[in-house]
């Protein structure tokens, strides 16, 4: 008797495992097809780019890696240097067509001036606007072209005397952010990854009680700011930045990923005396959708330029709205998948570093 029971339960367990594997595999198969269809073909331009890394190490190193690898794919020659090297000397010998500096906090401006004096075009791409504008204000005017991921910073740099200022958000590097099968143990319903800025604290103070019956995961700094932190610490992971691969695995493992933009007037690590507002979506917006999951995001003004709300991502305008929509999509799996898939497709088609850097080349190299 016991054996039959065991055999039967074993058969059932295997059948269930097969069905689960099937549904996961089916999803990733669809993602793969969408991704293949969307990814633009890369063409190497006859261009020699000298890329100056942030020189900051983690958490900037993945960004440096993404940019330099993409540059190699779309330019015929790439010279990579870091800000502490004798950049003008290297530039004088290598004679690149363009020097691209990322972030630029560690790049001495006299080196920029020396490279510029060689007749080499210089461009900088700011990655933390508007939160460090007190510092970037002193950097931007030394470059021929200024790229910022925050549209509201355009007038700010223009008024500083920069002639060529462009809006260029960060993108995704598909090898880092992509649909892939996460560990079974990480699977859950809703996740948020990011530091507990105060606007996020007040958001989650109100939403958590409404969604606590779901499997949640929150990770980032300062989450002990939550008044009932002790009650919720079971699903809060108080670690700083995770590797992109780990973050992406979390995104993949959760059916809904929350995005909440930092308030531009938050006092934590904010060097924005000019009080420039933030209207552009954060880099995380692209990373979440690149992972093939449903993104539930608050609505920065520029979001519509990048995703169609309700079609490629879902937006919320209050904690209640967020809780309701999360519940809706957790109980309407087919709809959730369609939106996630369209978000993935759009991201791979329009928001990879290949697209961004091609645009940067067009703008920086135009007469």
């Amino acid at each position: 008797m016991a054996t039959t029971w065991r055999t039967r339960s074993r058969i059932r367990a295997r059948r269930e495992a097969y069905a689960l594997g099937w549904s996961h595999g089916h999803w990733f198969g669809r993602c793969e097809a969408a991704k293949r269809r969307a990814l633009p073909a890369t063409v190497q331009r006859p261009l020699h780019v000298m890329y100056v890394t942030t020189g900051k190490g983690y958490p900037y190193s993945p960004l440096d890696y993404a940019v330099q690898e993409t540059l190699k794919a779309i330019a015929t020659r790439v010279t990579i240097v870091n800000p502490s090297q004798d950049v003008p000397f290297i530039a004088a010998n290598a004679r690149p067509d363009l020097m691209l500096v990322l972030d630029g906090m560690n790049m001495p401006v006299d080196k920029v001036a020396a490279v510029r004096a060689l007749g080499i075009r210089t461009a900088i791409w700011f990655t933390d606007d508007p939160y460090y504008t007190d510092i970037t204000a002193g950097i931007a005017p030394h470059y021929d072209s200024v790229f910022t991921l925050e549209r509201s910073c355009l007038p700010f740099y223009q008024q500083l005397g920069c002639g060529r200022v462009f809006y260029l958000p960060l993108g995704v590097f598909p090898p880092f952010f992509r649909p892939f099968n996460p560990r079974q143990s990480l699977r859950g319903d809703i996740c948020f990854i990011g530091s507990a800025y105060w606007n996020r604290v007040s958001l989650f103070e109100r939403t958590i009680p409404m969604i606590a019956h779901r499997k949640l995961y929150i990770s980032g700094l300062w989450w002990d700011r939550l008044s009932s932190y002790n009650k919720y610490r079971g699903f809060i992971d108080s670690q700083a930045w995770q590797e992109p691969e780990r973050t992406c695995e979390r995104y993949n493992a959760n059916r809904i990923v929350i995005n909440s933009h930092r308030a531009p007037d938050d006092e934590s690590y904010n060097m924005n005396r000019a009080r420039i507002q933030a209207v552009s979506p954060n880099p995380r917006t692209f990373e979440i959708s690149a992972s093939g999951t449903l993104q539930l995001t608050d609505r920065r003004q520029d979001l519509d330029q990048f995703y169609v709300p309700g079609v490629e991502v879902v937006t919320y305008d209050s904690p209640e709205d967020m809780a309701n929509k999360a519940e809706y999509y957790l109980t309407h799996e087919a709809e959730r998948q369609e939106i996630a898939l369209r978000g993935l497709y759009r991201t791979m088609k329009d928001h990879t570093y290949v697209s961004r850097l091609n645009q940067l080349f067009d703008l920086a190299m135009s007469p």
């Binding site: 367990a13 689960l20 594997g21 099937w22 996961h24 595999g25 089916h26 198969g29 793969e32 097809a33």
Partner: protein, 366 residues
């Protein structure tokens, strides 16, 4: 201790089940994504009436008929004994015959001649070339237009005076061959469906010792001519399988093997002139239409229709075949991706809709 061991076995069993579920789900998910991306063929129906005379090849007839219905205002399916009668009644713009080689009415050539005299365009599409050239060279001159799936035969028909001889490759009928979930009984690692022609017997005799302990399906007649018949008897379906069943076996297999029959003079063939073969068989399209990895021998036309190594793969001899089977059975991801790309190519380019559009253009039905 025993309980612990049992728990480990069960966990492994579940992991293996999850894995095989994952692969099957991935395959069908990828194919679904590919299918959704391909826009339905656009274009107006051509204002014409066409009679179609089928050969009785289930999937091909269905594919052609559906494609004609999508592209021509009026299509009438006509049995080969009624061609003249129906043409007189309906006054079509064209009569299109598939093959016309096997089991057609005795007077059907006279009927075609009569139709032609009525000023109606007549066309035939040969799909058994070059194995039946003894017959087709006699049939071809009776038509205004001759289409053949076998590239090498175009010059044969031209040489006997057919001014309008064209190469038109076959295609996949997605109503019959498509990615679909199948029952466990259709699952296998390696699958071959087809008659045991001598070259196939020779190949399988060589690989039988490798196959004998594996999860294999072979279906078709005449396999008892194998020397190592004993080794394959366990998994042989002697009576063969009907066409819709073969689609299920292709779907259930990890690898499908394709081996073209040899064109030369042999008891199986009616090709006394020993006309060579360059083109691929219909199965090539059928297999790739199912989203399964295909290993095939190479005909010279293959590389124009599929990217070898990326959309399917080829083998040169028995040893090479075994190496590749081993490789693809242990590289699941690569196998799945090649199969998916093969499906994409087939779905995008090797459809009856495109073939029929080409044919209608040549017939001047616009």
């Amino acid at each position: 201790m025993r309980r612990l061991r049992q728990a480990i076995v069960e966990r492994r069993g579940r992991a293996a089940a999850f894995r095989s579920g994952w692969m099957e789900g991935w395959r069908l998910g990828a194919c679904r994504g590919i299918e959704q991306a391909i826009l339905p063929a656009a274009g107006l129906r051509r204002n014409a009436r066409v009679l179609y005379v089928p050969q009785g090849f289930e999937a091909i007839d269905a594919g052609i008929l559906e494609a004609l219905q999508a592209n021509v205002a009026e299509v009438v399916l006509v049995g080969n004994e009624q061609v003249r009668f129906q043409a007189e009644q309906l006054k079509p713009d064209a009569v299109i015959v598939l093959n016309g080689v096997h089991l057609f009415a005795k007077d059907y050539l006279e009927q075609i001649d009569a139709v032609r005299r009525m000023g109606i365009k007549t066309a035939v599409w040969f799909v058994d070339d070059p194995y039946v050239t003894d017959d087709t060279v006699k049939l071809a001159p009776h038509y205004d237009f001759v289409f053949t799936h076998e590239r090498s035969c175009v010059r044969l028909y031209q040489s006997i005076g057919c001014a309008q001889a064209h190469h038109l490759p076959l295609a996949a009928h997605f109503g019959t061959f498509q990615p679909m979930p199948v029952a466990r009984t259709y699952e296998s690692d390696i699958c071959f469906i087809g008659t045991g022609f001598p070259n196939r017997i020779a190949l399988f005799d060589q690989i039988a010792p490798y196959l004998k302990r594996r999860n294999v399906v072979i279906a078709g007649a005449l396999w008892n001519r194998m020397r190592n018949y004993r080794m394959i008897e366990r998994f042989l379906i002697k009576e063969g399988v009907p066409v819709p069943e073969s689609a299920r076996y292709y779907n259930g297999a990890k690898i499908v093997i394709n081996l073209h029959r040899t064109p030369g003079q042999s008891p199986e063939n009616r090709n006394a002139i020993d006309w060579p073969a360059e083109s691929i068989n219909p199965r090539t399209f059928d297999m790739s239409a199912c989203g399964t990895l295909q290993l095939t021998d190479e005909r010279s036309e293959l590389r124009e229709l599929y990217a070898v190594g990326s959309e399917l793969d080829v083998y040169r001899n028995a040893k090479d075949l075994l190496d590749r089977i081993d490789y693809y059975l242990s590289h699941d991801e690569e196998r799945l991706k090649i199969a998916a790309r093969g499906y994409r190519r087939t779905r995008a380019q090797h459809t009856f809709d495109q073939r029929i559009k080409t044919m209608l253009d040549i017939l001047g039905i616009v």
